[in-house]
């Protein structure tokens, strides 16, 4: 792989005394789609948060496009082209839908303006009907669309989706998956954490499995699906 868009090396992260990440290496290349997998409490979200600057790893490094950003502020990492759709969505309830969308809008790192207000509304027509509503008045699915739309408005090179379909009705979840597929096809790299392993395997170029803060598997979705031990023991499938 050429220079990685985002790369973590030997990350050790603690929450108080508990050792959550135990020397994790992780990399995402341009346009690549990675399924980050593992059961609950294995460190997936902590790995994402460590790379985004939201928690400080005690050891190890984080690089964005080859530039060291281990101790960088979260906003600097975001401005290096990395957008985050967090678990629980992170809508601003005191901003309207329109404000949620435009508050962080900016061209990409290389000046790209592929994603603007009109395109996001064309992708998520339901948001267009609710522009003046407060963020908290939306349904779960609409909130998820808003968070993804808001992330796209920053014209990122990498979109990180943590449990994007959690708690959504199957029909809405399918809509979100279609959107994620479209984003992937547009050339934006993605990291997907989701309990729907089938959908992740169908979408990812590469899968990474975390167990107790260590990477135990890296390979293609095909290799992972064929690895029965991995699927049963570590993913419970």
């Amino acid at each position: 792989m050429a220079e990685a868009l985002l790369a973590a090396r030997g990350l050790h992260t603690y929450y108080g005394a508990s050792h959550i990440l135990n020397g994790v290496d992780f990399a995402v290349g341009r346009g690549e789609c990675i399924g980050l997998m593992g059961r609950n409490g294995m460190g997936k979200t902590t790995l994402l948060r460590s790379m985004l600057g939201l928690v400080r790893p005690r050891q190890g490094s984080v690089e964005v496009r080859g530039r060291d950003m281990t101790r960088a502020a979260p906003h600097a990492i975001a401005r290096a082209g990395i957008a985050f759709v967090p678990e629980g969505r992170g809508i601003f309830p005191n901003l309207t839908v329109r404000e949620n969308l435009v508050m962080a809008a900016r061209p990409g790192v290389d000046g790209r303006r592929e994603w603007g207000y009109e395109r996001v509304l064309a992708t998520f027509p339901r948001l267009g009907e609710r522009l003046d509503n407060g963020g908290a008045q939306l349904s779960g699915g609409e909130q998820q669309m808003l968070t993804i739309g808001r992330a796209l408005m920053t014209n990122p090179d990498l979109l990180i989706l943590d449990e994007a379909t959690e708690g959504l009705a199957p029909l809405i979840a399918r809509e979100i998956w279609n959107i994620i597929r479209g984003i992937r096809a547009s050339g934006i790299a993605t990291v997907i954490v989701d309990k729907n392993y089938g959908a992740v395997l169908g979408l990812a170029d590469r899968c990474v499995v975390l167990v107790k803060g260590c990477v135990v598997f890296t390979g293609t979705p095909g290799q992972l699906a064929d690895n029965e031990e991995m699927m049963q023991r570590y993913l419970g499938v």
Partner: protein, 288 residues
């Protein structure tokens, strides 16, 4: 109480309330959004008054003094945030109280060293030094009306800043979910620095424009600080709208209290606070 007298008290109450709003709005933003209990906020009010007095005697113009004073208070706010306050965001309120109480002592001592301990008066600018007659023997000073108008304009500007501008969106987003705002590329530290500097400048500006009415004296920030905390608690911590409503309530309650029931005038503000807190423990309005 005849109509003219009532009108004068009403205008005085509103003017006092609007002035309180300038100080309290910064206090509520700094407390509600940045999570900093800033006991030194009254010192910025005092500093403003002393700046107005000393700069006005140098330049012979209150307007020039205020313009210069605002620039100085903004710079002071930026410097304080950068040197001290930003290291206390993650800390317990107790540390913030200790820090900002220490700042009060430092500011009072500096005031004593630089300007001395005397009481000073600041003349009302000639252009505004007249009164509008209401009846044969009652009249109302124009300067107070001008102050009220300026406060109202600033309140409107603040409303527009928070509700309509990009910075306002960032402030509101940061107040509801700081981490998410950062992850969208918003430099929350810079936003906090601006909020703090704005709060310092507003408190200082209040001291400056009120200097011709209140005179300028040591420890004048203490009383204002306490009343402004009452305003913040009544209005709801972090709510600028609440600060406006509570400031006017308190301004009117205190002004009319002193005239109608002078025996208990000192208690009225606190009785009002107790009553509001029984009715709405969170204050009148929610955060931004």
């Amino acid at each position: 109480m005849d109509l003219a007298f009532f009108l004068i008290q009403l205008l005085n109450g509103l003017q006092y309330g609007l002035l309180l709003f300038l100080v309290a709005s910064g206090l509520t933003l700094i407390f509600g959004i940045m999570g900093i209990i800033n006991l030194a906020h009254g010192s910025f009010y005092m500093l403003g008054a002393y700046l107005a007095w000393s700069l006005a005697s140098m330049t012979n113009s209150l307007v020039a003094a205020i313009a210069l004073g605002v620039v100085l208070t903004v710079l002071l706010g930026i410097a304080l945030e950068w040197l001290l306050i930003r290291h206390f965001y993650e800390r317990d309120h107790l540390y913030q109280v200790l820090l900002t109480y220490g700042l009060i002592l430092v500011f009072e001592e500096m005031r004593s060293v630089i300007w001395g301990d005397d009481v000073h008066g600041v003349p009302v600018p000639d252009l505004l030094a007249y009164s509008i007659p209401l009846t044969e023997n009652l009249s109302y000073p124009v300067y107070r009306l001008v102050i009220s108008a300026v406060c109202l304009l600033l309140a409107l500007a603040m409303y527009l800043l928070i509700a309509r501008t990009c910075l306002g969106m960032m402030i509101r987003a940061g107040s509801s979910n700081r981490e998410m705002a950062q992850s969208l590329g918003i430099n929350i530290k810079l936003v906090y620095m601006l909020i703090f500097a704005l709060g310092v400048a507003l408190a200082g500006f209040a001291g400056m424009i009120n200097a011709p009415l209140s005179s300028v004296f040591p420890n004048m920030g203490g009383g204002v600080l306490i009343i402004c905390f009452v305003v913040v608690v009544i209005g709801g911590i972090g709510s600028v709208k609440g600060a406006m409503v509570a400031s006017l309530l308190i301004g009117l309650a205190e002004t009319f209290g002193q005239v109608l029931v002078p025996e208990v005038a000192g208690m009225i503000v606190y009785l009002l606070m107790a009553a509001v807190l029984v009715w709405r423990p969170e204050g009148l309005f929610r955060k931004l």
